[in-house]
């Protein structure tokens, strides 16, 4: 139950935050250029991502035996998780600007306003490429995180359920436009995702290397607690140290 819930929450948070960033880019391109081109670029990226899932997913799962697969997944989740956690610690300590999709939206809008629009009826390639690239890069991370979490003890179900919840929530945010983007505590949410992904990374790596975790799936809780304590100590230490540039 612990693994199921943590996988679901972790997938929902990670996917939601990535989709939010992709949404910010598409909204920025669509509102400054033409919605048709922004959506075409995004749709092209979604098709490429679907191909990636259809081609690579079954190949990986069918050919690799379970233990090496868990090592690979553990390493991938550790790479993602520790990076999110590192950035999260720096943001919470005030050493890095807070994660802000609304700010990204405004910056992207500003950048797009400088590019001249093509004549009516002609394709707007800069808009398509920027929207497509944004969705593709964030989407690859979504695919990797869901695939990695789905290789866990409870299978793909909780990871896909979490991703589904994230898609619905992000679309709802997109429908009421960009206002709620400014209100989300993104830095704290990303820090929490870092804790969850890193916990799964350590857990899977251990399982792949024949470790027997005390309390089985419950180990995820004390691994997460250890990561939380150490990262919070880092936040407090860094926040106290004076910054001299």
């Amino acid at each position: 139950m612990t693994a199921f819930l943590l996988t679901l929450v972790g997938a929902a948070l990670a996917v939601g935050l990535e989709l939010l960033e992709a949404l910010a880019i598409v909204l920025a391109v669509g509102s400054t250029r033409r919605w048709r081109d922004a959506l075409l670029g995004a749709a092209g990226a979604v098709v490429l991502l679907a191909l990636l899932v259809v081609v690579v997913g079954p190949l990986l799962l069918a050919r690799l035996p379970l233990a090496p697969l868990r090592v690979v997944v553990g390493v991938a989740l550790l790479l993602f998780g520790l990076e999110w956690l590192r950035k999260g610690v720096l943001r919470l300590a005030g050493r890095r600007s807070p994660s802000d999709s609304f700010k990204e939206y405004l910056e992207e809008r500003e950048a797009m306003e400088g590019v001249p629009l093509p004549e009516a009826g002609r394709p707007d390639w800069p808009a398509r490429v920027i929207a497509g690239k944004g969705v593709l890069l964030e989407g690859v991370e979504v695919v990797l995180i869901v695939a990695a979490l789905g290789a866990g003890p409870k299978g793909l179900a909780p990871a896909l359920a979490g991703a589904g919840v994230a898609v619905v929530l992000t679309l709802a945010i997109g429908l009421v436009l960009h206002r709620p983007l400014a209100r989300l505590p993104e830095s704290h949410l990303k820090y929490a995702v870092g804790i969850v992904l890193s916990s799964f990374g350590v857990f899977f790596l251990g399982e792949g290397l024949d470790v027997k975790w005390p309390l089985s799936d419950g180990a995820l809780l004390y691994v997460a607690a250890a990561l939380l304590i150490v990262s919070q100590l880092q936040v407090r230490t860094l926040a106290r140290e004076p910054v001299v540039t």
């Binding site: 790479l79 520790l82 990076e83 790596l205 251990g206 470790v211 880092q234």
Partner: protein, 64 residues
């Protein structure tokens, strides 16, 4: 390519290098430490991951 590298490996080299060290240490200990690895290996991996995180944050401590 730079965006893809940043996406997979992150913004620093210390984290991927540290995770590689954790993996190699885990593989080596599993082969050499018979008996206790199964019960204590998880805690060793956890401590190593915490060390990697702290090492990746070390440059921020120096910047003062």
């Amino acid at each position: 390519m730079r965006a893809l590298r940043k996406l997979i490996l992150g913004e620093t080299w210390s984290l991927p290098a540290g995770v590689l060290v954790v993996l190699l240490a885990g593989l080596a200990l599993r082969e050499t430490a018979h008996g206790w690895w199964v019960d204590a290996g998880g805690f060793i991996l956890l401590v190593l991951a915490l060390v990697v995180l702290s090492a990746a944050l070390a440059p921020a401590h120096k910047r003062r």
